[in-house]
């Protein structure tokens, strides 16, 4: 058994199985915690009936998804109607394979590194994640169109434009780190952030971190960018006509995307499985125990980000569509571009990993943004120019 695991292929297979199971569980429990956290933030108690503390609620929800009548409306485009949730779920579930879960591992304990605790380590790991993010648009646009429902179609159109627009600052923010690290491999990016006086990338480039975080909210269709499922305007959003397990797949796909996205941002900016001053988390620690420890650290970081996603969802209201577009094109894109240019210059002069230059550049850029927004008198992104004044009645008009 152990000797089998020394082979990277079988180790990857086993790891993929384990993480796939963990993802499925985590996705189911994400729904539970979403409900719990929303309840707590609204002074309620949340689901607590099924099992102790309501912990069996995901099972009950799953059973309900399975047992509800699976309606395919009469005038929908049937193949696409079935395909869309499959795309949403499938793409959400294949992203995790390039995440570095636990560094290098010495399985048999003879001191030599046998395998890498990553399902696959292609040289283009980051591009793989970006590609999956790009393909995820299809789930929304096909789902919305196949519905044959005008509101769902609106949602699909909005969402497509939104996802395409937010992919650009996202790519640029990632590019900043790629320029700094000089690698597209996620494991290499993690390793570049630890040991030997190196710090996490968030310290180097807090602005890029903020941009990536914001675009992740948009890419996963979460509040404040959840215009694709704005119930108040669009009935239900792009999945209006979906029921039963197909609807459930959209749901699960969204959470799977959140998990993968959180993993991405943790690996890019927060040192992956690394925690400073904790023994057993250095790259040299290759025992199985160290791998488990690293995996749990990464899992905890991802969980923290999931909490952040939910926290923001139950705090912020939704953006208006034009504000959303302005935020991307006029707010984040110039900042990200400036950051990329600056980092390129730093690479050219050989100071890309010098924290005084990176952090200083970010601070200067932030100050510039502040000054510009002060001159314009509007948020970096936000308000529509030349808004007409609101007319109000000074007193109750006489009849």
């Amino acid at each position: 058994m152990m000797s089998l695991l020394e082979d990277q292929f079988w180790f990857s297979a086993a790891l993929a199985l384990v993480i796939f199971g963990a993802m499925m569980t985590a996705v189911a429990y994400c729904i539970y915690f979403e409900r719990k956290i929303s309840a707590w933030m609204q002074d309620r108690k949340g689901p607590n009936r099924v099992g102790p503390l309501g912990l069996l609620q995901p099972l009950a929800d799953g059973g309900k998804f399975l047992l509800k009548e699976d309606i395919i409306p009469a005038n929908v485009d049937k193949p696409l109607f079935v395909l869309a949730p499959a795309i949403a779920f499938g793409l959400g579930m294949i992203g995790f394979v390039v995440l570095p879960w636990g560094g290098r591992v010495d399985v048999d304990g003879d001191g030599a590194v046998d395998v890498i605790a990553q399902v696959a380590d292609p040289g283009i790991g980051l591009l793989y994640l970006l590609g999956i993010g790009g393909l995820a648009v299809y789930a929304v646009v096909l789902g919305g169109w196949a519905n044959n429902n005008k509101y769902a179609f609106f949602a699909a159109m909005r969402s497509t434009a939104q996802m395409l627009s937010y992919e650009i600052p996202m790519g640029l923010a990632i590019l900043v780190i790629v320029l700094m690290t000089g690698s597209l491999r996620l494991e290499a990016i993690v390793l570049s952030q630890l040991g030997g006086g190196n710090v996490w990338n968030i310290v180097h480039h807090p602005l890029a971190f903020l941009i990536l975080l914001t675009t992740l909210f948009a890419e996963t269709n979460r509040t404040p960018f959840d215009l694709a499922e704005a119930e108040q305007e669009l009935i239900g959003g792009y999945h209006t006509e979906y029921s039963a397990l197909k609807f459930g797949l959209f749901f699960l796909g969204e959470y799977a995307h959140m998990i993968t996205g959180s993993g991405l941002i943790v690996v890019m900016f927060l040192g992956g499985w690394h925690l400073p001053w904790v023994p057993g988390l250095r790259p040299e620690d290759v025992s199985i125990g160290a791998m488990v420890l690293k995996m749990s650290v990464l899992g905890l970081k991802i969980a923290a980000f999931l909490f952040l996603f939910m926290w923001v969802r139950w705090t912020l209201p939704r953006f208006r569509f034009d504000q959303l577009m302005r935020l991307s094109w006029k707010g984040m894109l110039p900042v990200a571009l400036a950051l990329v240019c600056y980092t390129t210059w730093l690479v050219y002069v050989g100071r890309a990993t010098d924290i005084r230059w990176t952090l200083g550049g970010n601070a200067v850029l932030m100050a510039v943004v502040l000054v510009i927004s002060g001159v314009l008198g509007s948020p970096i992104t936000g308000r529509q120019a030349h808004m007409p004044a609101v007319r109000m009645f000074a007193s109750r008009p006489a009849r």
Binding site: A39, L370, F393
Partner: protein, 192 residues
């Protein structure tokens, strides 16, 4: 008409530097985070019953009994006529008692169709039908939710102590003696 001096043109307020950089988001997030640890206001329903404001709530109907324990209804069809949801169905029969001509041989209310508007009790000339503050109205079948005369009288027996009160100020209803705590009106007194 609206005069010009009544109209104010309100410009949007200038944003401060922190607002332009979306810093107030953090204030909002602090607020929601604090609420996680606050005392919860959820009422665990079947175990803990809410105390309702009895005078305002309109729940399950009841058919009142008069002082002799007979059904107070005189089968005048006022409630059935008034009902906007058509959920009351009355079959009148000749009264076995001498003080009135008719009594309801059958009196059904479909609690699933009812919209609990209270028009029936407004319409009733003898205050025989009333809405009680009972709200835990459940059943397993639709048939079970059609309340017949016996069931409605049972509701009365169960809720005898509770005195639903119609607020005269709100409904314009002139209170009868019974509502002020005196004797229930004699059946037939209203018709005379």
């Amino acid at each position: 008409m609206i005069r010009d001096e009544d109209i104010l043109n309100v410009d949007e307020p200038e944003l401060t530097a922190s607002e332009r950089l979306y810093f107030p988001i953090l204030v909002g997030m602090r607020t929601t985070f604090r609420h996680i640890f606050k005392k919860k206001i959820t009422v665990q329903y079947p175990e803990v019953q809410r105390t309702l404001r009895v005078e305002n709530y309109r729940g399950v109907h009841r058919l009142n009994r008069d002082a002799d324990g007979r059904v107070a209804c005189v089968a005048c069809f006022m409630c059935e006529t008034a009902c906007p949801a058509h959920c009351i169905h009355i079959v009148a029969g000749e009264s076995p008692w001498e003080d009135r001509e008719k009594y309801p041989a059958q009196f059904d209310i479909d609690e699933l169709r009812c919209i609990y508007c209270g028009m029936c009790e407004e319409a009733c000339p003898v205050d025989a039908i009333e809405l009680t503050p009972e709200y835990d109205l459940v059943g397993r079948t639709r048939e079970e939710m059609i309340f017949d005369k016996e069931k409605l009288l049972e509701v009365f027996d169960r809720t005898n102590g509770v005195k639903p009160r119609k607020n005269p100020k709100i409904t314009g209803y002139v209170a009868t003696g019974r509502r002020n705590g005196s004797e229930p009106p004699r059946p037939g007194a209203a018709t005379s």
